[in-house]
Amino acid sequence: MTDLLGPHAGFILAAYLAAAVILGGLATAILLDRRAQRRALAALEERGVGRRGGSAP
C-alpha cells in the first residue's frame, strides 16, 4: 500500500486514520449515549413514573 501511495504514504494514511478514529469515536459515543438514555427512560417508565400518574403502587 505504501509503495502505491508514493513517498508521502505516511501522511495520507495518517489523515485517513485520524478521520476514521474521530468519526468512529463520535458515532460510538452518540449511539452509546442514546442507548443509555433509552434504558434510563425505560427503567423509569417500568417503575410507573409519569408526568401525571406518579409511581405505580
Binding site: L4, L5, G6, P7, H8, A9, F11, I12, A14, A15, Y16, A18, A19, I22, L23, L26, A27, A29, I30, L31, D33, R34, Q37, R38, A40, L41, L44, E45, R47, V49, G50, R51, G54, S55
Partner: protein, 252 residues
C-alpha cells in the same frame, strides 16, 4: 408558523427520525463506499501534489461540514432566542460536538497535507487560524453548556455566544480572498464554477454528500439522545418531588 411549530414537536421528531435514520445511514454508507472506491482506484493523482491529493477527499468535506453545522447552529440559536422552541435548543446542543469533530478532522488532515506540500504542519495564516478559532468556539460552546446546570438558561447563553461566533463563518470563507495566505483559494464553490477536473470533482462531490448524510444521521441520533435525556431529567424530578411529598406525609 403553527404548522412549523407542529413539525418541530419533539414527539413528532422522534417518530420521523426513527423512520429517516436507517435511510440516511444506508445512503451515507453506499455513497461513502462508492466515493472512496473512486478515490482509491479510479481518480488520478495530481500532477503537482501526487497521491497526497487523496487527503482532499476528507479534508474538504470536513471543512464544509464544520461550516455547515455552525450555520445550522446559528439558525437554531435564532429559534431558541426568538421563538424559544425547545427542539431548536436540542438541535443546537446536538450539533456542537459533531461540528467540533469535523473542524478537528479538517485541521488534522490539513496538517498532514501541509507538511509534504508546504513543508510545515502549521502556519498562522488567515484560513488556518480562522478555522482553529471555529474549533475553539465549538469547544467553548460545549464547555459553556456544561457549566450551567439549568437547561433553558444554558440554551439561551449558548445561543447568544453562537450568534456572536457566527461572524467567523464569512471570515473563514473569504479569508483566502481578503488576505494573502498560503492556503489555496476556493476551487469548487466559486462564482466561475469549479476549477477541478471532473475526474477528481465527482469523487469529491460523492464523498462530500456521503459525509453530509452521515453527519445528518449522527445529528438525528444525537438529538434523539438529548430529547430522551430531557425526558429522563423531567421524570426524575417528578419522582423526587413525589417521594418528598410521601416522606412529608409519613412524618406527619
Amino acid at each position: 408558523m403553527a404548522s412549523l411549530t407542529e413539525l418541530a414537536n419533539p414527539a413528532r421528531f422522534m417518530r420521523l427520525s426513527n423512520v429517516l435514520l436507517p435511510w440516511l445511514s444506508g445512503a451515507a454508507a453506499v455513497l461513502l463506499a462508492v466515493g472512496f472506491y473512486l478515490v482509491w482506484f479510479v481518480a488520478p493523482s495530481d500532477y503537482q501534489q501526487g497521491e497526497t491529493i487523496k487527503i482532499m477527499y476528507i479534508h474538504v468535506p470536513a471543512a464544509w461540514l464544520a461550516l455547515m453545522f455552525y450555520s445550522m447552529m446559528t439558525l437554531s440559536a435564532l429559534g431558541v432566542l426568538v421563538w424559544r422552541h425547545p427542539l431548536a435548543d436540542v438541535a443546537q446542543q446536538a450539533a456542537a460536538p459533531i461540528g467540533a469533530c469535523f473542524a478537528l478532522i479538517c485541521l488534522l488532515t490539513g496538517s498532514f497535507w501541509g507538511k509534504p506540500m508546504w513543508g510545515t504542519y502549521w502556519v498562522w495564516d488567515a484560513r488556518l487560524t480562522s478555522m482553529l478559532v471555529l474549533f475553539l468556539i465549538y469547544l467553548g460552546l460545549i464547555a459553556l453548556r456544561r457549566a450551567i446546570d439549568e437547561p433553558s438558561r444554558a440554551g439561551r447563553a449558548v445561543a447568544i455566544l453562537t450568534l456572536v461566533g457566527c461572524v467567523n463563518i464569512p471570515i473563514i470563507k473569504f479569508s483566502v480572498d481578503w488576505w494573502s495566505t498560503l492556503h489555496q483559494p476556493a476551487s469548487v464553490l466559486r462564482l466561475g464554477g469549479p476549477t477541478i477536473h471532473p475526474s477528481m470533482l465527482w469523487p469529491l462531490v460523492i464523498t462530500a454528500v456521503g459525509f453530509t448524510l452521515l453527519a445528518l444521521a449522527l445529528h438525528c441520533a444525537a438529538m434523539q439522545a438529548e430529547i430522551l435525556r430531557r425526558r429522563v431529567r423531567t421524570l426524575t424530578i417528578f419522582e423526587a418531588e413525589r417521594l418528598d411529598r410521601l416522606s412529608l406525609q409519613a412524618a406527619q
